[in-house]
C-alpha cells in the first residue's frame, strides 16, 4: 500500500497563502477508478422482490433480502390505533407532509423511531437551492441537476421540484424559518458545486437545524399526533396489495402497536449508518434504511441502488469526530483543498462525486496525510479562507468553530484534515410527482425516494426535495384518504417474502429492518428484546 505523508510533516508543508492557482487536473477515469460506487464486488444482483435481477450495493442487498422481524403471533392482542394518514419518520419531509395534510383537517399521526426532529435534516448545513437571483432560472436549476446526475433521472420529478422551489422557500418563511439576508432584507445566495449560478439560500451553517426547529414547533403546536420512540417494524397490507397501515414497536413498553391508516407516507431517510464499504458517515444515528426495506417487502419498486454520495469533506481527524460534516459552503466561500504537499489537486466546486474521488486519489497515490491509526485525508484550507475573508468563520460558520473546539483545533489557524464521508443515498423508492409509489396507499418522500438525483446530488437539492415532495404527498394523501373506508390489515405479504426467500435458497437468519446500527449495543444497554432480532442467530 502506498505510504502517505505524516501529519506533522504535512502540517510543516502547509502555509496559508491568499492565492493558489489551480494546476491542470486530469478528471479522465477518475470516478471509475476511485469512486466507491465503482469498486469491484461492491454490487450484486437482487434475488427477490420487485427489483429482482437489478444491481444493488452488496450491503443494501443483504438488508433488502432479510426476513421480517415479526410473525402473526407477535400481533396477538396488539393495540390498534386508527388514523387517516400515518407518517413514518419525524424529519423534515415527514413534518412537511404532516403539516400540509393536517391543514385540510385530516387526522395525521407521525411515528418516529427516536424523537421528532431526530434526523438528517438537522445535519444539513449548506442550504436550499432555489432560482431567485435575477440571472438565474428554474430551467438552469433543472439543467444543473440533470447534468451533475450523470445518469437518467425522472425528469418530471426534477421539473416539479425546481418549479416549486420559490414556493417552498415562501412557505418555510411563513412557518417562521430564518435565512441570512443582505442589508436590504433580500435572501443571500451562494454557489454550490456543479451549478451555474449562485442559488443556495442558507442560514449560517445551520440551515437544516433552523428548518427542523421551525417545522418541529409547527407540528407540536398543531393537532398532529406524534408518537416518539416507536420504530416501524413492518407495514400492513390487504389482499389487494394496498398498504393499510404499519406495525410499530414501542421502545417504552416493549409492545407492538398496529396503526390502521388510509395512507402511509414513509419519510425515513437514508442508509448512512450501514457504513457502506466501511466508510464513516455524516448521517444521523437513525439512518438505517428502514423505509427501503419496508417498502420493498410490500412490492415497491426501487431504483439507483448502486449509487451513493460520499461527501468530500467529512472530518477525518480527530478520530472521535470522524465523519462529521464540514459544509460544502466552506468550499463555495473559497476554501481550497490541499494535499500533503500543500498543493491544490482539484477544482473544489466540481460535483461532489468528482471532488470526493479526487481526494481518494491523492490518498491512494501517496499525496495524502497520514494521521496514524489508519486515518488519512487531505487539508481543507480554512486559514487561507480566513486570510482572504477576515471574520468569515465567526459570521457564517459558527458550527465549524464549534467542531474545531471539540477537536482542540482552531480552523482559523490550522487546516482541518478531511476525507470523504458516506452522506446520501442517491436512489430509493420510485415515486410519482405526488410521492406515490406503485403500491396503492403508500407514499415515499425525501431521501428514501429515488429518481431525482441520478448518481450525484447537488448541494441544496435535498433540503428542497424533502419540503417540496413532503408537501405534495401531504396534500395528495389528505385529498384522497379521508373519504376512503379503512381496509383490512394483515401481514400476509410476509408469507410472499418468506416464500421468495426460501425458493431463492436465501439464508433467513438475519432480520430486518435493522432499526439501529449494530454498535448501538442494545443487547447490553437495553432490556428491549425486540431489538435483538437484528443480530444473526448463532
Amino acid at each position: 500500500m502506498t505510504k502517505n505523508i505524516s501529519y506533522q510533516e504535512a502540517l510543516a508543508n502547509y502555509k496559508a497563502v491568499s492565492d493558489r492557482p489551480l494546476p491542470e487536473v486530469n478528471y479522465e477515469g477518475l470516478l471509475e477508478k476511485y469512486h466507491p460506487d465503482y469498486f469491484k464486488d461492491a454490487c450484486v444482483q437482487l434475488k427477490i422482490g420487485a427489483n429482482k435481477g437489478d444491481i444493488c450495493h452488496i450491503q443494501l442487498a443483504e438488508m433488502l433480502q432479510t426476513d421480517a422481524r415479526i410473525d402473526e403471533a407477535d400481533l396477538a392482542g396488539a393495540q390498534v390505533i386508527e388514523t387517516d394518514i400515518l407518517i413514518i419518520g419525524g424529519g423534515g419531509a415527514g413534518c412537511a407532509a404532516a403539516l400540509t395534510a393536517a391543514e385540510t383537517g385530516a387526522r395525521v399521526l407521525i411515528a418516529t423511531k427516536l424523537r421528532l426532529g431526530d434526523s438528517n435534516t438537522v445535519m444539513a448545513e449548506g442550504g436550499v437551492q432555489v432560482s431567485i437571483e435575477k440571472d438565474d432560472t428554474p430551467q438552469q436549476h433543472y439543467d444543473d441537476t440533470l447534468r451533475s446526475a450523470d445518469r437518467p433521472v425522472d425528469k418530471k420529478l426534477v421539473a416539479e421540484m425546481v418549479m416549486s422551489a420559490p414556493d417552498v422557500i415562501r412557505w418555510l418563511i411563513q412557518q417562521g424559518m430564518q435565512f441570512d439576508l443582505d442589508e436590504y432584507g433580500d435572501l443571500l445566495t451562494r454557489k454550490a458545486g456543479g451549478t451555474t449560478a449562485p442559488r443556495v439560500v442558507y442560514f449560517k451553517d445551520y440551515t437544516g437545524l433552523e428548518m427542523m426547529r421551525v417545522l418541529k414547533e409547527a407540528v407540536r403546536s398543531s393537532e398532529i399526533e406524534v408518537l416518539d420512540y416507536v420504530p416501524t417494524v413492518e407495514l400492513l397490507s390487504d389482499e389487494d396489495g394496498h398498504c393499510t397501515g404499519a406495525v410499530l414497536s414501542s421502545l417504552e413498553d416493549n409492545r407492538y402497536k398496529l396503526v390502521k391508516a388510509k395512507s402511509v407516507i414513509i419519510a425515513t431517510g437514508g442508509i448512512g449508518r450501514l457504513h457502506l464499504n466501511g466508510f464513516p458517515t455524516s448521517n444521523h444515528f437513525g439512518a438505517t434504511g428502514d423505509g427501503l426495506v419496508l417498502a420493498y417487502r410490500l412490492g415497491a419498486k426501487l431504483r439507483d441502488l448502486d449509487s451513493f454520495q460520499y461527501h468530500p469533506s467529512g472530518l477525518a481527524y480527530p478520530q472521535h469526530l470522524s465523519g462529521t460534516l464540514i459544509t460544502e459552503s466552506v468550499r463555495s466561500a473559497g476554501a481550497y483543498l490541499l494535499n500533503a504537499q500543500g498543493e491544490r489537486f482539484v477544482d473544489e466546486l466540481q460535483p461532489r462525486d468528482k471532488v470526493a474521488a479526487a481526494i481518494m486519489r491523492e490518498c491512494a497515490e501517496g499525496r495524502g496525510v497520514d494521521a496514524g491509526n489508519g486515518i488519512k485525508g487531505i487539508w481543507i484550507d480554512t486559514p487561507g479562507l480566513e486570510l482572504n475573508n477576515p471574520g468569515i468563520f465567526d459570521a457564517r460558520f459558527p458550527k465549524l468553530i464549534k467542531i474545531g473546539k471539540k477537536s482542540g483545533l482552531d480552523p482559523r489557524k490550522q487546516p482541518l484534515l478531511i476525507y470523504p464521508t458516506l452522506h446520501y443515498q442517491n436512489g430509493g423508492v420510485i415515486i410519482d410527482k405526488h410521492g406515490q409509489t406503485n403500491i396503492p396507499g403508500l407514499y415515499c418522500v425525501g431521501e428514501v425516494s429515488g429518481g431525482i438525483h441520478g448518481r450525484n446530488r447537488l448541494m441544496g437539492n435535498s433540503l428542497l426535495e424533502i419540503i417540496s415532495f413532503g408537501r405534495r404527498a401531504g396534500i395528495h394523501a389528505a385529498k384522497y384518504s379521508p373519504r376512503k373506508p379503512f381496509r383490512k390489515i394483515s401481514i400476509e405479504h410476509l408469507s410472499r417474502l418468506r416464500r421468495e426467500l426460501m425458493l431463492a435458497d436465501m439464508p433467513m437468519d438475519s432480520k430486518g429492518p435493522i432499526l439501529f446500527p449494530a454498535y448501538a449495543k442494545f443487547e447490553t444497554d437495553s432490556d428491549y428484546s425486540g431489538l435483538h432480532k437484528n443480530k444473526k442467530s448463532k
Binding site: D71, A73, A76, A78, S495, R499
Partner: protein, 417 residues
C-alpha cells in the same frame, strides 16, 4: 407428479385461453359432438360417472339436470356460476381465464341435456380478465363450425355474460337468480326451487363453473374413465386451491380423494419456513377446521365429512403454529358480517355480534362473559337465515371453539380458570 397433476380440467389441452384453433386441435369439441349424437344419454352418463356439484355442495349433478329436463316449459335458463368470492378460493378464476372454451362446451352440453335455451355466464365483476377472456372466446364460439353444427341440429342457444353484483352472497343460488333478473342479490325463500321457478319464473339450472367443465370430458372419454380418475370411492378430479403458510400455494387439479398431506407436503412443497402445521380451514372459511390429526384425510366430499368437516369449494387455507386462531376467525367473521345481505334478522345481528365479541377477545379486552355469549350464539343462531351464510359463520366459530378453546381462554382479560 406429472401423472396425477392437472390431468383434465387444467391440462394444457384445456388451458388455451381464448385461442380457438389451439383448443380445437387438442381435444376441444369432442364431448359436445358425442353429446349431440346421443342427447338422451347425457344425463345417465353424468349419473353413472358420479359427477357432484363442485361449487361446495357435493350434490349429485344429474338430479338437478333431470329435474330441469322434466320441466315442459319452453324457456329454461342455465346460470354458470362464477361469482367466486370466498376467501381462499380462486379455481373458477383460473378456469374462466385459461379454459373459456371448456366452460362454454360444458354449458352447452348441460343445456342440450336439459332442454335449456338461455345460457348465462354469471361472473364476479372484480375478475376483469375473466370477463375479457370469456367475451373474446364467446365471440369466436358463435362463429365456429361447432356452433354452426349445433344450430343445424336445432340447438339454438342464447349465450350471455352477466356481471354479478360482486357481493359474496350473490353466489348463492337464489341470490344469483335475483341478480340475473337485475335486482339486488337477496337470497329467496326455500320454495319454489329454482328447478321449477328461477329466472323470470322459468326453470333454472345453476351449476358451478368447475362442475360444468367436467361434462365435456365425461362425454368424450366415457363413464369408466372418469370414475377411474378418482381415488377410492371418489370419482374424477378436483381442483384444490391451496393457500396460507405453504411454500407453493396455488391451484392443483388432483384425483378426487387425494390425501390432504399429499396436497400440502408434495404439491405445496410443505410448510413455509419449516413451521409446524396448526390447522387447515377447508373449503374456505365457512367450514369446520381440520387439525394436524386430520392430515391423512382423503380430500373427497364423503371422507372429509366423516371428520366433521366438509370439502366445500376445495379451498385449503393452511395455518402454521404462531398464527392466532382467534385473530383468523375474527377476520373471517368480520367478512361474513360485512357480506350479510341483512334481510334475515338473525344473520344481520348475529354475524355482527359475533364479530364484535371476537374483536374484543382478540385484542385482549374480552371477558369470560363474552366467551360465554359466543358459545351461546353458536347454539342459537344456526338455521336462522334463508341461506347458508349465517350457518357458515357459526360453523367456523364453533369449530375453532371446539379445537382451540384454550386460545380463547388465554386471551380473556379476566380469565381465572
Amino acid at each position: 407428479m406429472e401423472k396425477t397433476l392437472n390431468q383434465v380440467l387444467l391440462h394444457k389441452n384445456s388451458r388455451v385461453g381464448a385461442d380457438y384453433t389451439l383448443w380445437k386441435n387438442g381435444w376441444g369439441g369432442q364431448g359436445l359432438k358425442n353429446a349431440m349424437e346421443h342427447p338422451a344419454d347425457i344425463i345417465s352418463m353424468i349419473r353413472d360417472a358420479g359427477l357432484l356439484g363442485l361449487g361446495g355442495s357435493g350434490f349429485p349433478t344429474h338430479i338437478k339436470w333431470q329435474a330441469i329436463a322434466d320441466q315442459t316449459n319452453t324457456e329454461k335458463y342455465l346460470i354458470c356460476n362464477g361469482n367466486e368470492d370466498e376467501p381462499g378460493t380462486f379455481k373458477d378464476r383460473v378456469l374462466l381465464e385459461e379454459t373459456p372454451f371448456q366452460v362454454i362446451e360444458g354449458a352447452t352440453i348441460a343445456a342440450l341435456a336439459c332442454g335449456i335455451n338461455n345460457v348465462v355466464f354469471y361472473i364476479n365483476p372484480n375478475l376483469k380478465t375473466c370477463h375479457e377472456v370469456m367475451q373474446s372466446a364467446l365471440a369466436k364460439w358463435l362463429t365456429s363450425e361447432i356452433h354452426n353444427h349445433a344450430l343445424q341440429q336445432g340447438l339454438n342457444l342464447k349465450y350471455t355474460i352477466v356481471a354479478s353484483s360482486g357481493h359474496y352472497i350473490a353466489g348463492e343460488e337464489t341470490a344469483a337468480i335475483e341478480s340475473v333478473e337485475g335486482k339486488f342479490p337477496f337470497p329467496r325463500g326455500k320454495e319454489p326451487r329454482p328447478t321449477t321457478s328461477g329466472v323470470n319464473g322459468c326453470p333454472t339450472l345453476i351449476n358451478n363453473i368447475e362442475t360444468l367443465c367436467n361434462a365435456p370430458h365425461i362425454l368424450r372419454n366415457g363413464v369408466q374413465w372418469y370414475r377411474d380418475l378418482g381415488i377410492g370411492e371418489a370419482n374424477g378430479t378436483k381442483i384444490y386451491c391451496l393457500s396460507g403458510d405453504v411454500l407453493s400455494p396455488g391451484v392443483y387439479e388432483l384425483p378426487m380423494g387425494t390425501p390432504l398431506t399429499e396436497l400440502i407436503f408434495k404439491y405445496g412443497q410443505g410448510m413455509l419456513v419449516g413451521k409446524e402445521l396448526k390447522a387447515v380451514f377447508t373449503g374456505g372459511p365457512s367450514n369446520t377446521i381440520l387439525t394436524e390429526k386430520d392430515l391423512d384425510v382423503n380430500l373427497d366430499f364423503k371422507s372429509v365429512s366423516e371428520r366433521r368437516s366438509s370439502l366445500g369449494t376445495g379451498a385449503m387455507i393452511v395455518v402454521s403454529r404462531g398464527t392466532g386462531i382467534v385473530k383468523r376467525v375474527a377476520q373471517y367473521v368480520d367478512f361474513f358480517a360485512a357480506e350479510s345481505c341483512g334481510q334475515c334478522p338473525a344473520c344481520k345481528t348475529g354475524t355482527y355480534y359475533m364479530s364484535q365479541l371476537l374483536g374484543e377477545i382478540d385484542t385482549g379486552a374480552g371477558k369470560k362473559a363474552d366467551l360465554d355469549s359466543l358459545v351461546d350464539l353458536c347454539n342459537i343462531l344456526p338455521g336462522g337465515g334463508r341461506c347458508h351464510l349465517l350457518d357458515g359463520a357459526v360453523k367456523v366459530v364453533d369449530s375453532s371453539l371446539y379445537h382451540f378453546l384454550d386460545e380463547y381462554k388465554e386471551a380473556l382479560s379476566d380469565d381465572s380458570n
